[in-house]
Amino acid sequence: MTLLAAAEVSIERGERRLLQAVNLSVESGQVWQVLGANGVGKSSLLRALAGLARFGVEGSISRFEPLLYLAHAPAIKRALSPLENLRCHPACDITSTPAQIEAALAALQLGGFENQPVGSLSAGQQRRVALARLLLTDARLWLLDEPFTALDGSGCDWLEDCIRRHISAGGAVIFTSHQPSRFSELQQDLDLAHYAVC
């Protein structure tokens, strides 16, 4: 099943054309890593694929909705607790009960921090709060922008495991990362160097 199809997509940012003629077809069960140097347009591509950017984006993109898009900015309010942040998440896609959210937080080793303001947690823990959404969403297509940032070793292992479970359940993941490949046998690479406009 095709969860995302992009044909001849080109992206402009400001006056500059970043990428052109990107073709991508993501089937369920696939995990794609978007590669490329800083500034080549990885985040812009992900925003365009998520449907957030229309201005300056040409070509056709069809996507299976609802999708989950996790940006650099974590969409987490520092004044709210992890529990409240997830329960009242701005994407409005979390229908879980508080008990389910607590279980998800516990799986990310945030048990005991559910009711503390997120602002009092470390950067890595805040990242984990944002990632706890992965356990609570129904979305089949995940677009993750630098999901491994700020995570420690066990956090990275957890995320890798989470992505593997998601794709084996029929989901698909597109993520950007500068880390070496973690899903060697499963993973497909989208190297933006081929599409960059010099």
Partner: protein, 233 residues
């Protein structure tokens, strides 16, 4: 994770959750809530010092002073209405939600109004007494500020949504929304003046009510569209 086809949140629930999220964030930063009140208090304290302590003169100017200060306080807070959501990525997520962005944004605006405009209207009789506003004007002042601050917050929301992606958009925001605020100011001052004179202010209050109802219906659509444009640039 995938198998269960859970129903998505109903629209009122989604609205309520955005309201709670924003309301709790506002409550946590007391400074944001106290700022307009403090501003109001300080300006009202300064006027008698500048104009002289003649009670008759102060009382005759009080409706205008109170309304202008309320307008400025609203302008001050509405500039930042969507700023933190834009910076922390919440707006992007709201735009991806399966619900209309205008309804989710209205949840935020409602929380914002309760914590700023509504609160200011409720304590305004206290400030009015400091300026010696005759007592028959106090109730009308409060009602007119309740309706008026709702209008001002909704206008401010449109302006804030349009300028949220612009660095130092404050000046542009003021230029955009002050002209739109003028009718609200005129109706509000007129209502309070009429009441002070002992005449019936209901015409002016009805006009403000109509303005507020119209804006409540239309402004969210503009806010939703403006937020999408801001996210796209």
């Amino acid at each position: 994770m995938l198998s269960a086809d859970r129903p998505s949140l109903s629209l009122p629930t989604a609205f309520g959750r955005q309201f709670r999220r924003h309301g709790k964030a506002l409550m946590a930063s007391l400074a944001d809530v106290a700022n307009p009140l403090l501003f109001f208090f300080m300006v009202v304290t300064l006027f008698p010092l500048g104009l002289g302590p003649d009670p008759m003169q102060l009382a005759s100017m009080a409706p205008g002073i109170l309304w202008v200060v309320a307008l400025l306080a609203s302008l001050m807070v509405s500039a930042r209405m969507f700023a933190s959501d834009f910076e922390d990525g919440s707006l992007e997520q709201m735009a991806l939600a399966p619900h209309p962005l205008s309804v989710l944004a209205l949840g935020e605006v409602a929380a914002h109004w309760l914590a700023t405009g509504c609160l200011l209207a409720l304590v305004s009789p206290l400030f009015a007494m400091m300026l010696g506003l005759p007592s028959q004007g106090l109730g009308v002042l409060m009602v007119s500020l309740l309706l008026g601050s709702l209008c001002l917050t909704l206008i401010g929301a449109v302006g804030s949504a349009l300028t949220v992606s612009i660095r130092r958009g404050g000046l542009l925001l003021s230029l955009l929304i002050i002209p739109l605020n003028v009718p609200v100011l005129i109706f509000g001052t007129a209502a309070v003046t009429e009441a002070v004179m002992g005449r019936d202010p209901s015409t002016w209050l009805a006009l403000m009510g109509a303005l507020a109802a119209g804006m409540l219906a239309l402004a969210p659509l503009a806010v939703g569209a403006a937020l999408r444009i801001s996210l796209d640039s």
